[in-house]
Symmetry: C2
DNA sequence: ATGTATTACTTAGGGAGCTAAGTAATTTAC
DNA sequence: GTAAATTACTTAGCTCCCTAAGTAATACAT
């Protein structure tokens, strides 16, 4: 089968740093999540929006504006527009202008959207659990802590840069 | 304002947080890396290819075939085709058929590609270091370990699924 | 030797992220 | 009261990832 000249260890540490590990891990997570969500006729990003709206409802907010949504999802406004476009097209979400300020668009779950959230939630915990089964609960907690700490540092950097740009 | 009150175990199991933390951290990393690489006229994915080819050269392989590349980058073949397409278009990489087997395409760095790698490498360590400055060296090592462990688990899952599919 | 598999890669089509450049609606300034 | 700025969001255009369905070239099997 003409295997490449003996490079035994499949994952040779190529100056592997935490950053590379993160990028690679995400890639694989994404490859697992995509088919999983596809079973429900949605994408990972769409699920993020649906879940965010569901949570907002649980807290007494029937809808979220685009800026809120994009902030909570940590994506830029144009990216949020795209995801919401497809959710509206598929009838899972509605987009209505706020009467007091027509610039603002309020996004909320439709009936079908609510139903879809419930369908996913029925099996979601099990899916997440199986994906993380390679780590102990303690390790999961530690991983989460480290990732969050790292993200906060990077966000500070980003904000500093944007501020500098603005001046 | 509006800090979420003590609703810890209410609807947020630990497992979900680790995955969510990963996805969010990646998003922010990506947002920092993209402008960084843009300074060199390349994308993050393009850098991965260039670095992989550079490393191969260091090990005595002047080129890599598409399958090798896609395996090393942990992306599917069609994705690799796309990235290489753009690198060829920009003159950083060449794509030549292997005479003994015309199905195989050998990818290698051009002069310009070599130069670009060196340009990036000149400042790369500093960039990585600054991005990871939010964590101690010990924490970085631990983060890397956890991410790799998690990735390996997921890859096993993926392979099992693909195998099942094939049967 | 010839027809069938298999392999290596590409094409087509869709979702998602980004930046830069719009377009309205609202606010501020004079 | 009108002109200029600001705000909220969308559009356009790029890269990247994916899956499914090609297209050649090579290997296999009879």
């Amino acid at each position: 089968m003409h295997v490449s000249p003996d490079r035994k260890s499949a994952e040779a540490p190529v100056e592997e740093n935490a950053l590379r590990a993160l990028v690679r891990a995400f890639g694989v997570v994404d490859r697992v999540m995509q088919p999983y969500f596809a079973r429900f006729g949605i994408s990972g990003a769409q699920w993020s929006v649906l879940r965010q709206l569901h949570r907002a409802e649980g807290e007494g907010f029937a809808s979220l504006r685009m800026t809120e949504l994009s902030k909570q999802l940590l994506i830029r406004l144009p990216s949020a527009t795209g995801v919401v476009d497809r959710l509206v097209r598929d009838g899972l979400v509605s987009r209505v202008a706020l009467p007091e300020d027509l610039r603002v668009k309020l996004i909320s779950l439709t009936e079908a959207g609510q139903q879809r959230v419930h369908d996913v939630l029925k099996v979601h915990d099990r899916q997440i659990e199986s994906m993380l089964a390679g780590l102990s609960v303690l390790e999961q907690t530690e991983l989460q802590r480290l990732l969050t700490q790292m993200r906060m540092h990077l966000e500070t950097q980003l904000n500093a840069k944007e501020f500098a740009h603005r001046v």
